[in-house]
């Protein structure tokens, strides 16, 4: 089946969703996703971040779809044409979903443990507005203890329900889920239960925001001060393939390995995640290539350096070049200054 997204055509198998097709193409046209998680059955459709415009339904029925559709749960049709990042309507919808998500989410990235790896932070960076129109008081919840490994900070939850689906599919004896409705809905355990299943730690990895964080790592470090390495160990419970996050030669945190869409490759067990913090426990494979798009990785926190205009005349620079040759100095890069002087 042929599908065209933002003018780029791709061949896909029947049953592929628009989001999957977009991810195959890659690049800027890939819709953001906060609730879809390819490793979790039944995820997607909820956050509405990935809305796209279908300008042509299919070869058989070329009519455009009147409403925007959630790309993560909409299947491709042969001949379908989709506008993603190129569509102003989609851009507007992403802006408004971001605004909706932020009205009740505390804007406390500087103290939040998820900063630097938060999907909502990235989404706001791309689609957020600089000013809020929400002057009401934000919804807040009483802190709640859900066990010794995972910290729940309900105020930050965006109810994507990934953790619930994970618990459903990975843990037996599930004790947590969604209580109540609407914006008073909350993630909680069933009547003061504690979460202690061997695979429960994966909830931390699938949580797109800082609502579920690792109690053994909390506030130890900002993630950008850590160096991630791929590592493995022989584990009888899980694949044993992880990323260890080092500060100097101390392992501060262990997570599953994530791809560029922040989805883990393989879920890992709690022993690997919480209990193996000694370098001797692991075979370190090498630094983890960390290509994911994020505020930190794009270094957006750094101030833009002002452009310095050096008003050196070209003749003088040429003279310097000649001198350098004569005294065989180590090459000082001059390109920059050259460019500047031209501009």
């Amino acid at each position: 089946m042929k599908v065209t997204i933002d003018g780029q055509e791709i061949d896909v198998e029947p049953g592929t969703t628009i989001l999957q097709a977009a991810r195959m193409i890659g690049g800027d046209l890939v819709p953001p996703a906060m609730c879809y998680y390819s490793k979790l059955k039944g995820s997607g459709g909820k956050c509405r971040c990935c809305l796209v415009e279908v300008s042509k339904g299919s070869e058989a029925d070329p009519r455009p779809m009147p409403k925007l559709v959630a790309s993560c749960v909409t299947g491709c049709m042969d001949g379908m044409e989709v506008n993603s990042s190129a569509s102003p309507r989609v851009e507007e919808a992403r802006k408004s979903v971001t605004e909706f998500l932020l009205i009740n989410h505390p804007l406390d990235c500087p103290v939040c443990d998820q900063a630097g790896e938060c999907d909502l932070q990235n989404l706001s960076f791309q689609h957020g507005k600089s000013q809020t129109r929400f002057i009401e008081e934000k919804r807040t919840f009483e802190p709640e203890d859900i066990g010794d490994k995972i910290q729940l900070h309900m105020n930050r939850c965006i109810l994507c329900q990934r953790c619930v689906q994970l618990a459903d599919q990975l843990c037996d004896g599930r004790v947590h889920g969604v209580m109540n409705r609407g914006d008073h809905a909350q993630i909680s355990t069933y009547i003061t239960n504690a979460i202690d299943n061997e695979f429960s730690g994966n909830m931390i990895d699938v949580c797109p925001v800082g609502a579920l964080t690792d109690k053994t790592f909390r506030f130890k470090s900002r993630v950008w001060f850590n160096k991630p390495y791929n590592a493995h160990r022989n584990c009888d419970k899980c694949c044993g393939k992880t990323t260890v996050w080092m500060f100097g030669d101390e392992i501060q945190r262990v997570t599953a390995r994530k791809d560029e869409y922040h989805e883990v490759e393989d879920f890992i067990c709690n022993t690997c995640r919480f209990d193996k913090k000694d370098v001797k426990d692991w075979v370190i494979e090498g630094p983890r290539k960390f290509e994911k798009f994020s505020v930190i990785n794009r270094n957006k926190y750094a101030l833009n350096a002002p452009k310095v205009e050096i008003k050196t005349e070209d003749q003088i620079l040429l003279g310097r070049k000649e001198d350098q040759k004569k005294i065989s100095m180590v090459k000082v890069p001059l390109n920059n200054t050259n460019d500047n002087s031209k501009s």
């Binding site: 959630a70 979903v97 909706f100 009740n104 129109r133 919804r139 109810l159 409705r181 809905a185």
Partner: protein, 450 residues
């Protein structure tokens, strides 16, 4: 007097009981269908009748039935939607309470048409007393051989259960209803797949409203063609309207579709005009989720034609000047009504009832309510009106289920038609402190912002 199809026998003493119901021709449609018609012929009759779903959306019932997947070989189900939680709508409970066997008869005939051997009535939790009435009636029907194995000696068997919900508006949405019936949280499912292909326990399922199903016995007995003769255009048959608000005779009425709104409002047979003869200010014709109509658009459409009680006429062909027939919750407001407070009240409801799955509805309904609350309590800012407009426009069409739309339409229509009233609230916060401010402040004064 219009034709009565649903409420025809409602005044017969004891019609609630099996004996009286049967003695008055009850269950004849089951006999006729099972003995003389094939399931497809029953579906065909319903198709011919043009009956449109009475739960709100108005989708042709026969067409919906024809979508049910008969090839998969899986068991099929009919589920009756008796959740009836739309504020202003209280017609289904009337049928179930006073003539429960009509629904059961409809369930049997419809299940036969669909090839369903296990059917359910999903009733809202607050209708406990109706639940008990239905339970008793089902027991009677089992005892008389209308339910169970090999009904009337044919090879059609049917089990029918009533399931009581826990009282959540969202469980009226058909896929949330199915989830709830399966014992899960009542969250709407993402469509496709539609229930006709994968519904209850992934089996092909049809969900229909109480009133829709209750019309089937008449159609089987009198033919779809006869049914289609009643009404106007694509709005065929009769409709129950639950009328409330500032009128002389509130209650549940069965009308022939195509009756003029003016006659319905003012004739003594129906609403009998305005309570205490105060002026009419606004109308919500189809339950709280549909757009409100201002006085000048109640009796006439924007095109100047008489407005009729039909799906098409009330919607003005989809133009913003129209509303919807919806579930038939006809709410009438006189000049003392505060539109802002009314809109806030509706918003409060949708905020409370949003299931919280999708972002625009979960966060948007809460935001709408908070802004409206502020305006109503004298803390509004002029820019809030545009803000409300903007928020509702960003919920509409971007959600999983139509609850998001239902929350935004009332706000949009209130601003479209009664913007001055919002401005009045913002400009004169001290005047709205009195609960009955519009009794003392004539509407004209508000309109002109003096």
């Amino acid at each position: 007097m219009g034709t009565k199809i649903l409420l025809d026998k409602i005044n017969i003493p004891g019609i609630k009981t099996y004996e009286v119901y049967r003695a008055n021709g009850g269950y004849a449609s089951v006999e006729k269908a099972l003995k003389t018609l094939t399931p497809d012929e029953v579906t065909e009759e319903v198709k011919t009748s043009g009956l449109r779903g009475r739960g709100g959306a108005g989708f042709p019932m026969g067409l919906k039935w024809s979508f049910i997947d008969k090839k998969s070989g899986k068991p099929r189900h009919l589920v009756c939607n008796a959740d009836e939680s739309e504020p202003g709508t209280f017609k289904d409970r009337y049928l179930m309470e006073y003539i429960p066997h009509l629904l059961i008869e409809g369930m049997i005939t419809s299940s036969y048409a669909l090839g369903a051997n296990l059917s359910y009535i999903y009733i809202r939790g607050e209708y406990m007393w109706v639940y008990k009435i239905l339970e008793r009636a089902i027991k009677e029907a089992y005892a008389a051989g209308w339910l169970g194995k090999n009904i009337l000696g044919t090879d059609f068997s049917l089990d029918l259960h009533v399931h009581c919900g826990a009282g959540a508006y969202i469980c009226g949405e058909e896929t949330a209803l199915i989830e709830s019936l399966e014992g899960k949280r009542g969250n709407p499912r993402i469509k496709p797949p539609f229930p006709a292909v994968s519904g209850l326990w992934t089996n092909p399922t049809v969900v229909n409203n109480v009133e829709s199903i209750s019309a089937v016995p008449w159609i089987v007995m009198n033919s779809g063609e006869e049914y289609a003769k009643i009404g106007v255009g694509r709005s065929t048959g009769t409709k129950l309207i639950s009328a409330s608000g500032h009128i002389k005779n509130p209650g549940v009425y069965e009308i022939e579709l195509g009756l003029s709104v003016e006659e319905f409002m003012n004739s003594d047979e129906y609403l009998g005009g305005m309570m205490n003869d105060r002026p009419l200010k606004a109308l919500v014709p189809g339950g709280s989720s549909v757009p409100i109509l201002p006085a000048n658009l109640i009796y006439k459409t924007a095109a100047g034609e008489d407005r009729l009680m039909t799906y098409e006429s009330l919607s003005d062909g989809g133009f913003a000047t129209g509303s919807m027939l919806g579930s038939g919750g006809f709410i009438v407001y006189n000049d003392t009504t505060c539109i802002v407070r009314n809109t806030w009240n509706f918003s409060r409801f949708y905020h409370h009832e949003s299931c919280g799955q999708c972002t625009p509805c979960r966060e948007g309904t809460g935001w709408l309510e908070k802004v409206l609350h502020r305006i109503e309590h004298g803390h509004g800012r002029m820019e809030d009106i545009d803000l409300l407009w903007d928020i509702q426009s960003k919920i509409e069409g971007n959600t999983i289920c139509p609850l998001g739309d239902a929350a935004s339409w009332p706000v949009a229509a209130a601003i479209r038609h009664f913007r001055e009233e919002f401005e009045y609230h913002i400009r004169f916060p001290e005047r709205i402190k009195n609960r009955d401010h519009f009794v003392n402040e004539p509407f004209e004064k508000v309109r002109n912002l003096v």
